[in-house]
Symmetry: C2
Subunit: 397 residues, 2 copies
């Protein structure tokens, strides 16, 4: 063992050290923002296909501290850099952390549009309440994100094959180990230049195994809390071992279908009453995340009025039966990263009931191609080929 004798080492400053005296209790304020420009520039691959998801970060980030006594510190936009985090911070031990995911797009008309960000901020505030993290004002958060996007606007690729993924987050930074309400927290937001998420040509393959359960009644499945994700990483690995892309989450003894990976899901089928129906699991159970893309798909489908549109529960048994009877025309996932993606196969493993079956879904050969129409329409709205102002927040440059 080597010993280095007594070296004086300056400690990192504590994370909420801040000289500003502007503090506010109900929310951080855009009016108090300070901006410190970065002198470093990130290098990006020129081919959007090489961007992947969440690997290339832009040059700046938002950073705002809070404590229970004095409220919110003045927001900062500063160069993208590591956080200095106390080893006893609750985020590192008890997962007291929430996040959001949304996107900004470089439009065909040169305008930058963010897709329905007010819905993300409203959801983030609901997550904050459940995670006992402080509340903030939606409008102030939107103004700050606008400013962050503006600051790094030149990094957004001028193509509809890429976008700027925006990651707001909040976590507890208390410097003691007791499990209790947070006295200190940090709200931050950074962005990643992002390509496409899935290879849609092959379709998505899902593993449905009732032994792997994402959420439960009395839990926090409907909130975007970090704690919902850690347990899914091992399950994702298991899915990959079975040749699948994601897990499809089932819940309860009746194997209710809820989500796939970190996405919502939809089925276009001929139901037991011989109606053409687009169905997605209801959020009333509290088991699944109320996705912004999910909500947008529902609103578009209701607007188009081509079929019955339902938010209702269905079981794995309903699904398997319908697939066997050729009544499932399309099955697809929805999410910010994935947009809308077709599912081609469900591997159904239920050890308890002795089931191991591969269910093929003809999504990509369906007559209606609803998933594709939804994908295209959403993409058209994202990139400004269709004007739908109430879904498009334009960032003035």
């Amino acid at each position: 063992m080597q010993k280095i004798s007594s070296i004086s080492l300056a400690r990192f400053p504590i994370s909420n050290a801040c000289s500003s005296t502007r503090r506010t209790h109900s929310s951080f304020q855009y009016a108090n923002l300070t901006v410190e420009k970065s002198t470093k520039k990130q290098r990006l691959p020129s081919d959007p296909d090489k961007l992947g998801f969440g690997r290339y970060f832009s040059n700046h980030m938002i950073d705002i501290d809070w404590d229970v006594k004095d409220g919110w510190f003045a927001p900062k936009i500063r160069p993208f850099q590591n956080f200095s985090i106390h080893p006893a911070s609750k985020v590192l031990h008890y997962a007291q952390e929430i996040f959001e995911g949304l996107k900004a797009y470089y439009g065909v008309d040169g305008k930058i549009r963010v897709f329905r960000p007010e819905l993300n901020m409203e959801r983030m505030r609901r997550s904050a309440r459940r995670a006992t993290l402080p509340d903030f004002n939606t409008r102030e958060a939107l103004l700050l994100m606008d400013e962050l996007i503006r600051t790094d606007a030149d990094m957004i690729p001028k193509t509809d094959q890429a976008s700027l993924y925006i990651r707001p987050m909040m976590f507890a930074t208390d410097q003691h180990l007791g499990i209790g309400e947070s006295m200190q927290a940090k709200w931050a937001c950074f962005t990643a230049i992002t390509g496409s998420y899935f290879d849609y040509e092959r379709g998505i393959r899902l593993l449905a195994d009732p032994e792997m359960v994402r959420s439960w009644k009395g839990g926090v499945g409907q909130y975007k809390m970090g704690c919902n994700y850690a347990p899914t990483i091992f399950v994702g690995k298991m899915a990959a071992m079975h040749g699948c892309d994601q897990a499809m989450w089932l819940s309860g003894d009746n194997r209710m279908v809820t989500e796939a990976g970190a996405m919502n899901l939809f089925m276009l089928w001929t139901n037991e009453d011989n109606e053409l129906e687009l169905i997605t699991p209801s959020t009333e159970s509290g088991l699944l995340l109320p996705g912004i893309t999910r909500q947008s798909v529902l609103e578009l489908a209701r607007e188009w009025n081509l079929m019955k549109v339902s938010e209702a529960n269905f079981t794995m048994c309903d699904l398997a039966k319908a697939i066997r009877e050729h009544r499932v025309h399309e099955f697809f996932v929805s999410g910010t990263a994935a947009n809308v993606g077709p599912v081609s196969e469900i591997l159904h493993c239920d050890k308890e009931r002795g089931i191991m079956e591969k269910l093929l879904i003809p999504t990509m050969n369906s007559k209606m191609q609803l998933y594709k129409r939804l994908h295209t329409t959403l993409s058209d709205i994202h990139y400004g080929r269709i004007e739908k102002p109430e879904w498009q927040r334009v960032v003035e440059l």
Copy 2:
């Protein structure tokens, strides 16, 4: 809005920057340890009653980095200081984090003893597997923790009213946002000089509400993963609003009793067969953490052979009925922070079934005073008043 124009700011070094070339794949190695002594000294309150839990940290910490390509870097003991963490690290978003809690005690003979640390390290390795974090060798971890304790040995209060709480932890430090297996991680350990956790004179009051569910079949309740704790913070706040100290966790439609707060629980009762029985919920369900104090209580009780000792499930209905029939003699919690603590009251709220009742348990007036005997015996083993070498790891100074 104020703008600070273009200031050059050195970024923090990335968290795994390390000049050492000693890397090992299967585990970090004590033999590769480097020690950098702190020149700063923490100031502690002189009264152990003012220490509280996990507020006063000692001067040093263990810090070890890992990446999937090269394995474990050489371990470091260095001055206690903040971590530098990349904003996209999985620990901050997806709660990919695990921890342990154990204690070292300054014995009546001047020896420092750690209570059964090998059990904590074995449990930590099980948690790591479930959280898809890297494995390590139990013996190497124990040697490193010995060294950390030795380094700050003079900070351990020479009283049986205090102890050194040891907090090993591991978390994912990958610098991208994809939800997947970790490619980079950090193993760390620090210690906190700690007083007593509960006021035992009053007894502990628990809130039992089946709407608040800690864990579920197919989840990760049996692992010490950070994700199990975040959802409980709000519930702890609710318990406090009802005048209770902790939540008692129930599970399933039959309201199975599982844990209380972050502790295991025990009941000494006259069971339906008129036998005197010490019962604790079984870990077979996968719903509860297999506590080290729980295991030690079971082993002591079986050794003493004063009553039937069972690991088996019981429901809130069983418990309430038995309390009403005056068959519950003692009800107590067990944990590293709490040792063994008496429960005096359960507030039972079951909206669905229209139940709201206060159940008083005469634990502190029981004839047998089993909880007190267990508390004293464990404390005697902790502080070396009783020799039980297989439970006491002596740290050679």
